[in-house]
């Protein structure tokens, strides 16, 4: 297949956005159908990635490489088993988001759709980039459409929320940029070759003292994006103020970028620093789990409840990643997809309610299920999926995560499981207050049940929830070899390094081509 399929998927939405510019702003339905069509075509293309993906190869596939600016800055993209599913998640959700915004966005439809499509290009670009420069370009460029989406179509405090979001994210990423420069210059000094290639950097053996700083810069950037506990304050603001579509994409995909960054960059590039900071990172994740859950319990605003539940769930994902074993890692990636689906769905559901009543306060609702029985069923499924009911997707992910964490450290697993308990608490309580009981508000009597369009975009999500909950093998099998490869990279390097640590005065060197080491896994990282 000579078609540059990955570039096509990445840039098709951008081309669509350019196309939309030339359509008159009053032809709203044409704009909507066109962008929906583009999103669906992108999704279909991305499915071919899944079917042509060879799960035996751990290294990136569909690689495209072209010279771009010189000095090591190349156009170099490819996907492995980790990024594959995140791309699929993005392309899967985008038509849903466009459908969900069909009537929600009435003002400035054209600009909204253009920014959505540009955002999609940015997100996919982040997941496919294998050149650090390219990665950074997409990582930053993606902020611009998100900035506009929150700032123009958001709620009353949107300007505060969007500036906070941009400044927080940029703070982290600029320091990461400095770290990237540092890696770049070290690589140049060590080899005399300019390179931003991620795989070249994988071969660098860095002095642990330098690694610490570089790791901190990378980790800060990703921790803000996830967000890990003390860096999370932008998230509730951004979520509450953002329009539904932007909330969905933010929760479902943008938060995953932080976790993806840890998997792709921070862990394999700086294994020694990882070992050093592992306890702290695990502690922060754990605090995030409990703090997010407790905060979610006391929220009065349905949207900020879901936002805090995101912090809690992402905490579990990060805890699983920091367990550094295959089960936990696969569970974490699987759980990223689950979280994308279920939290995305919950935001859609809050959006559906908001469109009818224009309030997000939980107390304004009550007894909605009498008026909206079909909607009630969907809400229940999505809510249970987020709680982690067996048979639905959340269960598989959480159980894998908890297994993996348990293998690494029992205490953390026991504390980490509180995410499930807390989730059951706040989500069921929210469901009860909104959907059940007597009808408190007369407005609710005028609610219409969800229409075909709304069913249309909820059904695919629910199908996926059941599928991923009952038969996860097609997903797990594709990611397995990439995950083991990643873990090898982290662990093998550590072994290599302890061997060579005697000779202390080297700054860095290029790893000699060692023979393939066996898949040794060190499980007890936390002890």
């Amino acid at each position: 297949m000579n078609l540059p399929i990955l570039s096509l998927i990445t840039f098709l939405p951008l081309a669509g956005a350019v196309l939309l510019i030339f359509i008159h702003r009053d032809r709203k339905n044409l704009l909507r159908f066109l962008s929906l069509g583009i999103a669906i075509i992108t999704f279909i293309f991305s499915l071919t990635l899944y079917f042509n993906f060879n799960d035996q190869i751990p290294d990136p596939q569909f690689v495209e490489k072209a010279d771009w600016l010189g000095y090591g800055i190349n156009y170099h993209i490819g996907i492995d088993g980790i990024s594959l599913f995140l791309i699929l998640l993005t392309t899967f959700l985008m038509p849903i988001i466009i459908l969900s915004s069909w009537t929600y966005i009435q003002k400035r439809v054209k600009e909204y759709l253009i920014f959505m499509l540009i955002l999609q290009t940015g997100i996919i670009g982040v997941f496919v980039a294998l050149n650090l420069f390219l990665f950074y370009v997409f990582w930053e460029a993606m902020l611009i459409p998100m900035y506009f989406l929150i700032g123009v179509w958001g709620g009353p405090r949107r300007i505060y929320a969007t500036l906070k979001y941009v400044l927080f994210t940029m703070f982290g990423s600029l320091l990461m940029l400095v770290a990237i420069f540092f890696l770049y210059s070290m690589y140049y000094k060590a080899t005399g070759v300019y390179s931003f290639n991620l795989f070249d950097y994988y071969n660098l053996i860095l002095n642990p003292n330098i690694q610490i700083w570089l790791f901190l810069a990378f980790a800060l950037s990703f921790a803000i994006k996830i967000p890990l506990f003390p860096f999370h304050t932008w998230l509730p603001d951004a979520h509450v103020e953002a329009p539904t579509g932007a909330s969905v994409i933010l929760a479902a995909v943008l938060l995953k970028m932080g976790a993806y960054g840890f998997l792709r960059f921070a862990l394999p590039l700086f294994p020694d620093a990882v070992m050093k900071f592992l306890p702290y990172l695990a502690a922060l994740s754990l605090i995030g789990i409990i703090y997010g859950g407790l905060m979610a319990l006391i929220q009065k605003d349905a949207k900020s409840l879901v936002a805090y539940s995101s912090i809690s769930h992402m905490g579990l994902i990060m805890l699983a990643i920091f367990a550094l074993n295959t089960e936990a890692m696969e569970g974490a990636i699987y759980q990223m997809l689950n979280h994308g689906l279920s939290t995305g769905a919950l935001f859609l559901i809050v959006g559906i309610l908001y469109e009818r009543s224009h309030t997000r306060m939980i107390n304004d609702y009550g007894g909605v299920s009498k008026q909206m029985p079909v909607f009630s069923a969907f809400f229940l499924i999505c809510m249970l999926s987020s709680v982690g009911l067996p048979g639905l997707n959340g269960f598989i992910g959480e159980i894998l995560c908890i297994f993996g964490i348990f293998k690494a450290n029992k205490l953390l697993a026991i504390l980490g499981i509180s995410t499930v308990i807390l989730a059951a608490g706040y989500l069921l309580w929210m469901f009860q207050r909104i959907m059940q009981g007597p009808i408190k508000n007369e407005k609710i009597l005028s609610f219409k049940d969800i229409n075909k369009r709304e069913i249309g975009y909820l059904v695919p999500i629910v199908i996926m929830m059941f599928w991923m909950g009952i038969y996860p093998k097609p997903f797990l099998s594709k990611m397995e070899s990439s995950v083991t490869h990643l873990l090898n990279r982290v662990n093998k390097r550590e072994i290599y390094f302890t061997k060579s640590q005697k000779d202390k005065d080297f700054l860095l060197e290029i790893e000699p081509k060692t023979t393939e080491e066996k898949n040794e896994e060190k499980e007890d990282k936390f002890r």
Binding site: A141, L163, F171, L174, V178, Y188, K189
Partner: protein, 476 residues
């Protein structure tokens, strides 16, 4: 090669300027746009000559005037900038009641001063060019004669500028006294070979740095910038923000490249520049946060950009400096073009509140202005990102890590005020009605040229980089 040709760009510009002055007497008021066309034609010829003379290395006056590739590149670039400014002012002049003829003549004359400065490596001749540029600038700042702010700008610029010039001359005298030469390379040679430098020579060098620091508006020599930028006619502000800065940095480049190369006692000078650089970035960006006038915001932003450019000087990386200046030209003139677009007869809209809601009312102005602002803030995929990227990455390679960290944090601050303008344009409801004269083809031409420049330099600057490398290597 010693050839009279070396003078041709200079002569053409001066000739154009005199021709415009002469024709101004004979043309009726409604026909004065022809003056702009004539100036543009001569600028095109000048640009064409620059292309033709590439790699020729013509020189004249015993090598005191050399057209090496570096100077050709910048004469071309700054002639382009002047062309943009002329295009921007065609409507503006009639709207804002500025005087016609001398406007273009002074601009061209200022450009001739620039050409002298760019093509010389003798500090005394550079000084001559600087004076031509400066005196034209003082007059240009005050061309809105009925406007108090404009006159204030002119006076302020003139007084402070004369002081800076005095410093520069005194510094030159001291340098000549100690090194017995005004030629840059022999002065630097003196600095490098002399083991025991006299105080006189060091003070001389310091005073020269102050003199040029004033021109490129680095902190603490920046006080004139906001007031002059605010008071001067807006196209002239665009000119001020780009041209003197670019020239000043090229002179710095000519001074410091040989100096860094074999300097043993770089320490003092290095740290002075380091401190100036940090101050410039921090003060420029912090003060910009509190401004509500667009021209003042852009003034402080241009101060901050001088700081990033100084990083390139400190990192001893000429090509990233030249690239940054090139990108800076497009994005800054573009931003000013968008500001000029928001005006009508007798009225300019310069307060932030005026910008509320214009993003949707005037989509093209909104989009292009946003892109220029994002580029100034350093977002990919614009040229501004790549420019900062090159500067910062080479600085890291030169072990200037603390400077780079301060630089990126300063540019984080800058993100806030650039985005605040976009917030007003797109996210606030208009507080008052504004009405602008939309039919201004020359201005839109500039907007789109600059947009093209910013995006081309951000996405695929290969060809320009090749040219820049040729320019840099010719000068070594």
């Amino acid at each position: 090669m010693n050839s009279f040709f070396a003078l041709s760009p200079l002569l053409i510009i001066v000739f154009a300027s005199l021709l415009v002055l002469l024709l101004d007497v004979f043309l009726k008021k409604e026909n004065k746009n022809y003056l702009a066309y004539i100036s543009l034609i001569f600028l095109v010829i000048c640009g064409f000559i620059c292309i033709k003379f590439w790699d020729k290395n013509y020189s004249y006056f015993n090598g005191n005037l050399i057209l090496d590739n570096l100077s050709l590149f910048f004469i071309f670039i700054l002639a382009l900038a002047t062309g943009f400014v002329i295009l921007l002012s065609m409507k503006y002049i009639s709207f804002q009641d500025v005087n016609y003829g001398e406007f273009y003549a002074l601009l061209l004359l200022a450009l001739s001063g620039v050409a002298i400065m760019l093509s010389s490596s003798d500090l005394l001749i550079i000084f001559l060019g600087l004076e031509v540029l400066s005196i034209c600038s003082y007059a240009l700042a005050g061309l809105k004669r009925t406007d108090e702010k404009s006159s204030e700008a002119a006076i302020k610029y003139f007084l402070l500028g004369s002081f800076a010039t005095a410093f520069l001359v005194y510094g030159l005298a001291l340098l000549y006294g100690s090194s017995h030469s005004t030629n840059i390379s022999s002065i630097i040679n003196f600095f490098v070979t002399e083991s025991d430098l006299s105080i006189m020579a060091l003070i001389g060098l310091g005073l020269v740095i102050i003199g040029f620091g004033f021109k490129i508006a680095v902190v603490p020599f920046h006080m004139w910038t906001p007031d002059v930028y605010q008071g001067a006619p807006t196209p002239i502000t665009a000119f001020f923000s780009v041209v003197p800065k670019a020239v000043g940095f090229i002179v710095f480049l000519r001074i410091f490249t040989p100096y860094w190369k074999n300097a043993l006692n770089t320490q003092a000078i290095f740290w002075i520049l380091w401190v100036i650089c940090v101050l410039t970035m921090v003060v420029g960006n912090l003060v910009a946060l509190r401004q509500t006038n667009l021209k003042r915001i852009l003034a402080y932003s241009s101060i901050a950009h001088a700081g990033y450019l100084l990083i390139a000087i400190l990192a001893r990386d000429n090509s990233s400096l030249v690239f940054y200046l090139t990108v800076y030209l497009f994005m800054n003139i573009g931003a000013f073009a968008a500001v000029i677009a928001l005006s009508r007869k007798g009225k300019e809209y310069l307060e932030l509140e005026d910008y509320a809601g214009i993003g949707f009312k005037y989509p093209w102005i909104g989009v292009t202005f946003s892109i220029f602002l994002l580029s100034l803030a350093g977002f990919p995929p614009t040229g501004g990102f790549l420019a900062k990227f090159y500067v910062f990455s080479t600085a890291v390679r030169q072990d200037l890590l603390p400077l780079v960290i301060i630089g990126v944090l300063a540019s984080l601050i800058s993100v806030f005020y650039y985005l605040r303008i976009i917030v007003y344009m797109y996210m606030k409801e208009p507080a008052r009605e504004i009405e602008i004269a939309i039919e201004n083809p020359a201005l839109f031409l500039v907007l789109f040229f600059c947009l093209y420049g910013v995006l081309q330099l951000g996405l695929y600057p290969r060809n320009i980089l090749v040219l820049i490398n040729q320019a840099i290597s010719s000068f070594f």
